[in-house]
């Protein structure tokens, strides 16, 4: 079972964990990505996330399919936030349950790594003296 959501409101870790909880699961691994207060020593004031939503959902679906097939996941839940985020706000949650725990760690890490490479979502960091689209320039 797969749960994929792109949300404008605050992400709630419990929702993702509750979704993946399963009596056949020996464990679940949850990655929670939050907004850091600094990047390379510069103080971050806030972040703005935007998504090309239909394609972002499609790309997340591909990652979820891989997670289910390659790691025999029982359930996966991916939530990604869009809009304006403050320091400490949750930007992304990836939850995976598997029969055995090792697979859950691998699958969860692969999912977040792949999400950051392929899913059309962009974040802009806003500093006191300017703003920058993350990763846009070498």
């Amino acid at each position: 079972m797969i749960d994929i959501q792109i949300k404008k409101s605050a992400l709630i870790e419990k929702e993702c964990h509750d979704f993946v909880a399963d009596p056949g699961a020996g464990g679940s691994v949850v990655f929670v990505g939050t907004v850091r207060n600094q990047t390379k020593g510069k103080v971050v004031q806030r972040l703005e996330f935007e998504a090309y939503e239909p394609m972002a959902v499609k790309e997340m679906q591909k990652i979820a399919d891989t997670t289910m097939e390659r790691w025999n996941a029982i359930k996966v839940s991916f939530h990604h936030r869009v809009g304006v985020l403050g320091i400490g706000d949750i930007a992304v949650i990836i939850a995976v349950s598997t029969p055995h725990r090792k697979a859950a760690f691998e699958a969860c890490q692969n999912a977040i790594d792949t999400l950051k490479e392929t899913v059309p979502i962009w974040k802009k960091e806003i500093f006191e003296d300017g703003e920058v689209w993350v990763a846009a320039h070498p």
Binding site: G33, F49, E50, A51, Y52, P54, M55, A56, K58, H80, A91, V92, I112, L115, K116, E117, T118, V119, P120, I121, W122, K123, K124, W133, V134, A135, A136, H137, P138
Partner: protein, 80 residues
């Protein structure tokens, strides 16, 4: 040939619009589109990468565009 360009993130900033018509000459490949984009907006050349999507799927450089296609410019992603 005319396509409908859609841009997100820094691509929108460079293009100056989130949607715009874009006229392509004879060559209707993705790589030709990329080349002409850079010719008109030099800042696209500074990006780490630039990809394109049609029908919500990434397309390779040799993909042939059709008249009136909606083509989305995908600058380097940074979700998560």
């Amino acid at each position: 040939m005319k396509i409908n360009l859609v841009a997100f993130g820094i691509a929108r900033d460079i293009l100056g619009a989130s949607k715009t018509d874009f006229h392509l000459a004879d060559d209707n490949t993705i790589s030709a589109l990329k080349e002409q984009l850079i010719k008109r907006h030099a800042k696209f050349a500074d990006l780490t990468s630039i990809s394109f999507a049609v029908n919500e799927e990434y397309k390779e450089d040799d993909y042939l565009l059709n008249d009136d296609d909606e083509v989305v410019i995908i600058p380097p992603v940074s979700g998560g």
